[in-house]
């Protein structure tokens, strides 16, 4: 068992709430028609995104999926700049050029969310190759969904990572669906982690709604990869509450299924854990929640007050200048 400090638990609970409030706010904005473009919410899956990133060491890198807000918040991105990016403002992480689907903070090791399903697998191999080659001791954590594991990029990248013993952990958020397609209709196996056998790498299936299981497992996997033993595949079983994106009328599932999963809500489960173990007082818990919520209200204020990009920005950032 990995010891969790109070300070870490506090950070965990704060961030998982931040993630939840961030997306609840986005959901509101979408409903009001204030968001241009597609938004993929991960409400219901936050434990996976947040806790796995909290297991990282300083200097480790991540590649996010298209459903990456909780992942980004777990990694420590600034919700002000995230919100500004979602609203296309000049102050956003990508100066408003990327939007929700491309939030990145490259300097700090966040290689960006990816609009191409499975696009991050090979990028993560490359980032891991850099770590191995430069002997940095750092590891890359790569997020993707269940649907992404049916793509060629998954297979080629996991094989390459295994053959080259790259320090990368592939974390599959299995939320039971690829868009509208239930997992039984897009693959014929029970546990995605079993696909690791095709590459002779460790594969683990965990409860993606259990913050401890996520944190502990990812921590161990990172250690393994960091020790030079090669990549690891983790499958976190979880569920998304919202539609795939705003234009989804969810004919493919019944509300009862959603309700069942909501009983296993990752934020609630963590709260219960904190209560059970009496680690914080009710007041402290409430305070963390309030602060998390306030940070999101603030983020929206920041974003709203931010300027639109200047029109000539459209021509900038196509090419890097200078030569080596």
């Amino acid at each position: 068992m990995i010891e969790l400090s109070e300070e870490l638990l506090l950070r965990m609970y704060y961030k998982i709430n931040q993630a939840r409030f961030f997306e609840a706010k986005l959901d509101e904005l979408v409903a009001k028609g204030k968001v241009h473009g597609a938004i993929h919410l991960s409400m219901g899956q936050e434990a996976t995104g947040v806790m796995s990133c909290l297991a990282l060491e300083e200097g480790d890198l991540v590649s996010l999926s298209h459903r990456g807000h909780a992942q980004a918040i777990g990694f420590g991105l600034d919700v002000n700049l995230m919100m500004a990016e979602c609203l296309g403002k000049a102050t956003g992480y990508c100066k408003g050029k990327g939007g929700s689907m491309h939030i990145a903070d490259v300097e700090n090791g966040n290689l960006g969310a990816n609009g191409v399903v499975g696009g991050g697998f090979s990028l993560s191999c490359g980032a891991a190759l850099t770590q191995k080659y430069q002997k940095t001791g750092k590891v890359v954590l790569c997020f993707a969904g269940d649907g992404a594991t049916n793509g060629g990029n998954f297979h080629e990248s996991l094989n390459l990572a295994s053959v080259w013993k790259l320090p990368v952990v592939f974390l599959i958020e299995n939320n039971q669906y690829g868009m509208s397609t239930p997992i039984e209709k897009h693959m014929n196996i029970e546990n995605i982690s079993d696909r690791s056998e095709a590459y002779n790498m460790p594969g683990l299936t965990i409860d993606g709604n259990d913050f401890l299981d996520v944190y502990n497992t990812v921590t161990k996997a990172l250690r393994y990869a960091r020790a030079g033993k090669g990549p690891v595949l983790i499958e976190a079983k979880t569920y998304r509450y919202n539609g795939h994106s705003q234009s989804d009328n969810q004919l493919y599932r019944d509300k009862q299924e959603v309700r069942e999963w909501q009983k296993k809500d990752p934020v609630q489960k963590m709260k219960e854990y904190l209560r059970e173990h009496r680690i914080f007082t009710e007041k402290q818990i409430q305070k963390m929640e309030d602060e998390a919520k306030a940070s999101i209200d603030q983020a929206l204020e920041f974003a709203n007050a931010s300027p639109e990009p200047q029109l000539n920005a459209v021509l900038e950032d196509v090419y890097a200048g200078g030569v080596n």
């Binding site: 968001v35 241009h36 296309g88 990508c94 491309h102 609009g115 499975g118 509208s180």
Partner: protein, 333 residues
Amino acid sequence: MKTSDMKKMTYRDALRLGITEEMHRDENVIFMGEDIGLYGGAFGVSAGLLEEFGEDRILDTPIAEAAMVGTAVGAATTGLRPICEIMFMDFITLGMDALVNQAAKMRYMFGGQSQVPMVLRLPAGSGIGAAAQHSQSLEAWLCHVPGLKVVTPSTPAQAKGLIKAAIRDNNPVCFIEHKLLYDKVGLVPLDEDYLVEIGTTVVERPGKDVTIVAYGTTLAKAIEAADFLEEEGIKVEILNPVTLYPMDMKPIIESVIKTGCLIVAHEASKTGGLGGEIVARVVESEAFDYLNAPIIRLGGLDVPIPFNQELEASVVPQRNDFVHGVYRLLNRE
């Protein structure tokens, strides 16, 4: 055609109608793609088809564009006539091998032994805030691959007539749909044999002063500009190459001979776009001697598509670009 034989409907519905008619006409027509069944496709084109045709003919695929396109190719060479929906044209990058190295070349490299009757539907273009990886217009790539045909309808009627013609064609046809057109409404012939023949360029609007060649959403901008210019007494002739490859140049060349002035436009990045090809063909033709002014080529800026709405709009040619282009050609500026 009598309007009584026509019905007002969206481009989306017209596509679905064309597909439905062809699926009834030939049971070897099947339809595959990601989330095209219950979900009805990302843009709603296939809504209801699963109910109508069942799981054997409306096939949800895993997220695996390479296998999807390759499977369509293999099915097409063995007797089926698959329609394949790539959710966003940008993801044809993942299926290029099956499309370019297999579908387009198979007949030729096998010395004429096979045919590959398939339709690849490709929702393209910017304007919905989907950013760089979901907004490209890549038709020029496809028009550089002998063995493929490439078409793109701009109206609901064309959508129906062209999808039917594409399904009946015995070759791989890339069928490009601009996302902003799906909600566009227009009169559509109900005749089940109404086809827009592959290999035609449509005169969308007759005129005499300046020729504009445009397709996709750029066509609408050109028409707006023409409406505006008409009030000033300038008559613009607009041509729409609904088949981009192989393109029917005859009406274009004839028009340029008449007007002496040409604007070619598309949303795709200007450099390397089809505009250059059209310009070159006009210059190579007898129309060269009739040109009164340098040809103007309007195209998207040479940048990826940005997320921010205003930036996004600023990438593609707008009505005023056409208006000013016409002024410039007629020396009015």
